[in-house]
């Protein structure tokens, strides 16, 4: 799905895990890890993560570097001992490499779709979420919270903060919310703000999209 990324963050019930590409050079791993951690500073704050190294041969120094980098960003590392990753006879880790639930249509094909982050909490004032892809939030986005992503933003709740969709210039990006009352909306390079006088909006879900060179809002019809 994401090609040749040296570091991939995966979330599961057990928490966040960092999957490191076994082939990537340490330099690339460290650099990408640092970039991704800083981009989502507030988001990961306080989370505990497991480092998954797969088949990678790790020396203690390398391991410490990764651990310290992650901890410097306010995360806790758990269970990153390579010995804890059980390996099969062929050296492949047995754990942490589950069979994909969907193996594409009739096998072989990549599943259709694009990168998406599912956030199951409310974003509060001062929290900033950045993501390379689309974002689905099962919760509210409160005033003072910011969501910036390169794809679409879907809020299953009230959107009252600031959202920037299509941040790299994708004017087809859309913002959908059950209650669309943002402080400010940005799609690609377009900006619109809420009216100064409180006008009660419709109660149903709405979608914001770029039409005729400006951001327009209409009722969301599935």
């Amino acid at each position: 799905m994401q090609g040749k990324e040296a570091v991939v963050f995966k979330g599961s019930r057990a928490g966040v895990s960092v999957q490191v590409d076994p082939e990537a050079p340490l330099g690339a791993v460290v650099e990408e890890l640092r970039r991704k951690l800083s981009a989502a500073e507030n988001f990961f704050q306080g989370a505990s993560v497991r480092i998954e190294l797969g088949d990678r041969q790790v020396d203690p120094v390398e391991q410490r570097v990764l651990r310290e980098l992650i901890e410097a960003h306010g995360l806790t590392v758990v269970d990153d001992d390579p010995a804890a990753v059980k390996r099969g006879a062929n050296g492949k880790p047995k754990r942490n490499a589950p069979e994909p639930a969907v193996s594409g249509i009739r096998g072989g094909l990549e599943p259709p779709g694009e990168p998406c982050l599912l956030v199951r909490r409310t974003l509060r004032s001062g929290q900033r979420l950045e993501f390379d892809g689309s974002v689905v939030i099962l919760g509210d986005v409160n005033p003072g919270a910011v969501v910036v992503c390169t794809g679409h933003v879907i809020v299953f709740g009230a959107l009252r903060g600031v959202v920037h969709a299509g941040a790299r210039g994708n004017t087809d990006a859309r913002v959908i919310a059950l209650r669309l009352q943002p402080t400010q909306l940005r799609i690609a390079h377009y900006i619109s703000r809420s009216p100064d006088d409180q006008v009660p909006g419709p109660s149903g879900p709405e979608v914001a999209l770029v039409q005729d060179e400006r951001i327009q809002i209409e009722a969301y019809v599935p």
Partner: protein
């Protein structure tokens, strides 16, 4: 001539720094001055909300000092008054994203363009406070007639003097004449006696301020309330005018009667 950079500070939280900043800024702009309000409360910004300008923020103070945005692009023009601008704080960053040196340079740059630069300080005496006072030439301390607030104001006065901001001026906020009359609230003379700094004005506690703040409209724009009058008087004193302190106490028949029979408690001096 460069403009005046005035920091509005208090030590204690919740005494009305932000409301005061908004009203003094609006009041000065009503007199035709060019005013820039700077929200130095990084991470807990409020001034934009009180001014009703939150939905116009594109860039913030931190992005300006980091060089990611130009100052003129970050300044938000007020929707009601021509000469009034706001430089908003960042909400998703922390106080240490800015250094006192950067604030000093920023304030100096703003002072070239504006007659007044009003810096809204965060509560506390830590990094954020030091940032807020770094570029200021003058200070206004806001306090309420409560022992804890006055204690903090005293602490702040000392810190300001240590940072070469001597002669801070005092605004006593949220005074309630009835409570003072009953002796349930520190009165103005008590506060002045402790702090021994020059009184710039007294703002009566007024429900209209809460309403106005929630609407994003500085009360001074509204007109006829006592609080609005108090802010207008303070603004004229900042401008150097001699404005007599107004009488806050209502001349009700009870107080007249009490005065008549010599039972009148301490007179409440006004804004």
């Amino acid at each position: 001539m460069a403009g005046r950079v005035i920091v509005i500070t208090s030590g204690k939280g919740g005494v009305g720094k932000t409301t005061t900043t908004a009203n003094l800024g609006a009041g000065l702009a009503m007199l035709g001055r060019r005013v820039c309000l700077v929200d130095a409360d990084i991470g807990l910004r409020n001034l934009d909300v009180v001014m009703g300008l939150e939905n116009r923020i594109v860039y913030d103070l931190v992005e300006v000092v980091e060089g990611h945005a130009r100052l003129r692009n970050a300044l938000i023009k007020d929707k009601r008054l021509d000469g009034l601008f706001l430089l908003p704080a960042a909400q998703t960053r922390e106080k240490d994203a800015v250094t006192p040196e950067q604030m000093k340079a920023l304030c100096a740059q703003l002072a070239e363009e504006f007659d007044y630069v009003l810096v809204d300080s965060p509560a506390g005496i830590e990094h954020g406070f030091r940032n807020a006072i770094a570029g200021a030439h003058e200070a206004i301390i806001v306090t309420t007639p409560e022992v804890a607030a006055v204690r903090d104001a005293d602490r702040i006065t000392g810190l300001l003097e240590a940072n070469e901001l001597s002669n801070p001026k005092l605004i006593i906020n949220r005074i309630r004449p009835q409570m003072v009359r009953r002796g349930d609230m520190l009165d103005i003379d008590d506060v002045i006696e402790i702090l021994a700094i020059e009184l710039l004005g007294v703002v009566p506690d007024d429900e209209s301020i809460i309403v106005a703040t929630n609407r994003g409209e500085p009360v001074v724009l509204g007109g006829h309330t006592k609080a609005a009058q108090a802010y207008r008087n303070i603004v004229r004193r900042i401008e150097g005018e001699e404005v007599p302190f107004m009488q806050i106490e209502e001349d009700g028949w009870m107080s007249r009667l009490r005065n008549l029979v010599g039972l009148g408690r301490k007179k409440v001096r006004g804004a």
